[in-house]
């Protein structure tokens, strides 16, 4: 490695005029004009040594001791310059805007032959048909039975969006209830958000959250969702309730493909609160954590049943509130569910 870099540096330093380019077809430029700018070598093929696109601008040559390089020992006979393509040299072709005459004539040439109104309509349609796609989907990520000692529950977690690549209207709903006692809903919330791309992989989402059960509470919601490095899907949001309480929730999951259809998905979720909210049974700090894994089988990509296991725990003051109510603050559930989208 080090030798290759040194050789590369030496090659740049060597006077270009010493190379005999006279025999190369298509060489459009006197050799002595060859600048030492490495970018000029873009298309050179040095045979086995292809340094053509290395960006040496980042290299710190100040630390290099050129005195140590013994040029006499370098064997240039191994360098194959026969593959050099001098026709590709761009150094004497200036970059720049088009000449003024390129701006002459009609703005839309077709207007010389066709009805401008119809052309304008065709252009408007063309904009939609080439990058203006508006679409959407409904995604039921978790629809599951949660079997645990003493209390079997059900849960849903679904979302839908409609919009463009950059701007979307997003609807989310999540909730759960006991399977026994007639299946009454214990917790349910809905969010209506506007999602806007703030990076290649991340959307900013902002809007309203309304809790329907156990009590009606409204929140402002703001968060970010998308794909983090290492292919981790995340959704993180903060909520400010109409009572002025600030809470937050972070979800993250990762798909591990065991086969083309069998996918193991570890998932974690944490809830936080800035204050004690006794009426909602929430204590300040980390209030709840869930960690689990779901193994799904994609019969088709749109439809996958799964099994899983999840550990759920209330922590701190939240756990105390639960104990006071006579509930268990933590437990493990066996999950049976469906994931589907359309």
């Amino acid at each position: 490695m080090r030798y290759v870099l040194l050789a590369g540096a030496a090659l740049i330093a060597a006077p270009a005029a010493a190379q005999d380019h006279s025999g190369h077809a298509g060489h459009q430029m006197p050799a002595q004009e060859e600048p030492e700018d490495h970018s000029a070598h873009e298309q050179m093929d040095h045979g086995a040594m292809d340094h053509s696109q290395m960006d040496h601008s980042e290299m710190d040559h100040s630390q290099m001791d050129h005195g140590e390089i013994d040029h006499s020992s370098m064997d240039h006979s191994q360098m194959d310059h026969s593959g050099m393509d001098h026709s590709a040299h761009q150094m004497d072709i200036p970059e720049g805007p088009p000449p003024p005459r390129a701006f002459e004539g009609p703005r839309h040439a077709a207007e010389m032959y066709f009805d401008p109104q119809r052309l304008a309509e065709a252009r408007a349609y063309s904009r939609i048909a080439h990058g203006g796609l508006t679409t959407g989907m409904v995604f039921v990520e978790r629809l599951e039975a949660r079997l645990a000692e003493g209390h079997d529950a059900y849960l849903w977690d679904a979302s839908a969006w409609y919009g463009t690549s950059l701007d979307k209207i997003v609807f989310k709903t999540e909730g759960e209830g006991e399977l026994a006692d007639g299946g009454e809903v214990e917790d349910a919330e809905m969010q209506l958000l506007w999602g806007h791309a703030i990076g290649p992989f991340i959307d900013l989402q902002a809007g309203m959250r309304v809790d329907v059960e156990p009590d009606t509470t409204a929140h402002f919601a703001v968060g970010a969702a998308g794909l983090a490095p290492y292919m981790i899907h995340f959704d993180a949001a903060a909520f400010l309730s109409d009572e002025g309480d600030l809470t937050a929730r972070i979800e993250a999951e990762h798909d591990m493909r065991l086969t083309q259809r069998l996918i193991l998905q570890p998932r974690v979720e944490a809830e936080l609160s800035a204050q004690d909210i006794p009426e909602r049974g929430i204590g300040s700090g980390l209030s709840k954590i869930e960690a689990g894994a779901r193994l799904r089988y994609e019969i088709v990509p749109e439809f996958a049943p799964y099994i899983g296991v999840e550990y759920e725990a209330a922590t701190g003051q939240t756990a105390d509130y639960m104990r006071a109510e006579g509930s268990d603050p933590d437990g493990v559930s066996l999950l049976l569910g469906l994931r589907f989208w359309f």
Partner: protein, 577 residues
Amino acid sequence: MTQPLSLSRRGFLGTGALAAAGLAVPAWARGQSLTHARNGFGEVSGNTIDLSIGNHHFTTGGRSGHAIAVNGTVPGPLIRLREGQDVTLNVTNNLEEDSSIHWHGLLLPFQFDGVPGVSFPGIRPGETFQYRFPIRQTGTYWWHSHSGLQEQAGHYGPIVIESAEPDPRYDRDYVVLLSEFTPRHPHEIARMLAVGEHYFNRQMMTVGSGEMSLEDRLMWGAMRMNPRDISDVTGATYTFLVNGHGPADDLEFLFNPGERVRLRVINGSAMTFFNVRIPGVPMQVIAADGQEVDPVEVDEFQIGVAETYDVIVQPGAGSHAFVAEAMDRSGMAVASLTSQAGQRAAPPPLREPVTLDMVDMGMGGMAHGSMDHGGMDHGSMGTGEGGMDHSMRDTSLLPPDVKVGPGIDMVASMPMDRMDFPGLGLDKVPHRVLRYTDLKARNANPHRMPTRSMEIHLTGNMERYMWSFDGKQFSAVTDDPIRFAYDERVRVKLVNDTMMAHPIHLHGHFFELVNGTGMMNQPLKHTLVVQPGSTATFDLTANEPGDWAFHCHLLYHMHAGMMQTVTVRPFPEEGEA
């Protein structure tokens, strides 16, 4: 039941036998409705040609669904023209939506180029549009709809333009039009690409697949990229076709032993690059994109979407498999090249799926085999914290005219010219594969140095399914074209800041590949594949005035915004052109 699969230019072909062989079990013969499109195509020629676009059904193998057929067939008819003639094409649209026909690779006045919104308003339902232009060239070309996603549904066909001079190099002449059929509606495919993650990919890397090191897996993961992202739409929904026939149709190309057979291979597919080979039969490439090149003998070539290659083969007696394997190896189109009617050659099995590497990430300069990656200090690459992750989208490397935004998920940090790359998955096969560097124009081009150079970046975001030039989708730049002055000669460097190979097509012109052959013999092409994370350069003499489309010929990439208008101005004075 005329099914001239073989062009009868030499007049000794057993057309009837070929038709029978090619249509061994035609779908339409199974008692389906009259609107069922015929698989394969007829031929139209002369100075006045009528074409009619209509809705049909189509079946091949086990798949059937809606199709758009022209003159009742998928593909539509072979249009055979002669150099020097004037042709009038009356195109009637019997669909319930606007349609169009673009003549791919033909030199013609821009108003007959057939791109709605760029060259003309399009053809309304029930309307007949008259195209009229002189034929100024010879060779193998094709035509297709340029409206919405109609091309995917079957709205395409071949063009052959005969020279006035006889060509003694071959005895028999076949069109081999490669394409796909899907029972899904094209708009549904576009939606799946936008909402589903790698929806059509059934060759994703699994936890257990052993060929990639943990270090490399982490690097791909850190970049949020998929090393098996070879084709967006695959054999999961496509049946690959030769002349409208799926593998189950047992299509045959007949020859007599000893004959030299010209195959005019056209990639008329929407999304599929094909690896073309006839195991045991070498192919002599004589033309690329309709333009003659010095003959090159190869055993296999990759053909990008919208490219054409003409090859001459001289197979021995017997039956040989003609194989067009999808680049991602999710399926193949097959036919038999046989001297014995009814004798079917067994195609070779699909090869292993292709995995992208460092060069495809745009790190060409680092990918040298003898370089010791372990010894490289990535922290010193000026990437700041985060190392590799950040260096894969260092937007400071982009020129100022590139719009940086969510539509760009990667920047090739060290893109390399890969004109000598045979195509994804073909760089390690043990036989001769065609490379762009093998192409040398048979007829010398006028010698002229470009007076201006420019760079166009191919940009995209796989997750959001956004594709663009210079970070700007066509929807944003319909009134901000790429401008050339009339007769200006420009060197255009395409820089692919994505991990997919893009076949870039310029309408109405042939450009010259800067492939190292020397200025006079740079091969002429209308479509240029830019390899992932790489650059490709062409010289263009902009001598066709008007407005022209310039786009990625992957249909859903164009649909997602990878298109621009090229204007050539001013219009020359009368007599100047």
